[in-house]
Amino acid sequence: MSQWFMLTLVGKDQAGIVAQVTTALYEQGCNLGEASMLRIGGNFTMMLMIAFDGQSDALAERLQPLAEKLQLQLHFDPIEGELHHHQQSDVLLMVHGADRAGIVAQVTSKLADAGLNIVDLASDVGGNEDNPFYIMQIEGVATQGIERLEQALQELLQQQPDLKVTMKPIDTMVM
């Protein structure tokens, strides 16, 4: 059975990164699992699950020239690759406010204490240089119930009145 690896690549964004990286992996006999690829602050970031039969050192060595050509930082680590066991998020949170340090730490600490297990978090800085705003979308599992999170949010909004936070249950219809 092949071993799973997590390949992380980060570098200045340019057209064609995904095609060149995944073609190289395919040609080396890799099979891709779940992946996240995203442009963040002008950088392109890739996290890929890769199943590979051969020696990991050999694969990393073969990828190195391509990473150098594309000016990507490369990390390559063996992982326990878990497929087919997705956690179903049952709550969605939107947070925004004038940008300042500490928003993510304050919001997620409060929610973690109330049992939120984050499955997906995407955040962005919008606005302009003079008036940046911070906006964050979080999906997760309310391991202690949504009531607990609602309580935590009320407390959070009292402590951090500059933030707007909305929460909605994700009611997945199964048919």
Binding site: H86, L92, L157, D171, M173, V174
Partner: protein, 171 residues
Amino acid sequence: MAILEILKYPDPRLKTISEPVTAFDETLQTFIADLDETMNASPGGVGIAAPQVGQFQRIVIVDVSSKKKIKHHGYMVLINPEITEWDGFEIAREGCMSVPDYTGNVIRATQIHLVAQNAEGETIEYDMEGYEARAVQHELDHLDGLLFIDRLVSRRRDLFQRKVYKKKDKK
């Protein structure tokens, strides 16, 4: 009665367009009973379509009565169903017994008018909304060989804008 095997994506048979039902006979009643039992064998399942068990006939069962605080019509066997009117739209998350371990956001009409036949072949009509209307649209898609993954919209960018409530407003 029997629990039938659910076809699972990427089984190509799920793309089959199902045929109208013409005989409302004993065979049909037996099949409906099996389909119902199969639906109930899946935890949280609120609907099932005949092609999900490899029977390519225009038959679905929808029952969202387990869901609290919504308008619904209870247990419905819908044969040769047609949606004749649509109104409004909403994004919400769906999953499917035929698409294990994956859920996604889908846009559906919020109000529909539905014409169908019941298990005895009598014409029935419903005005439906919200959750029940969504379930019916999902099931009817199966009859035309469509899965919710054929209708996905972005997970990250679609913000469930409708019906998002502010914490302070809710009590």
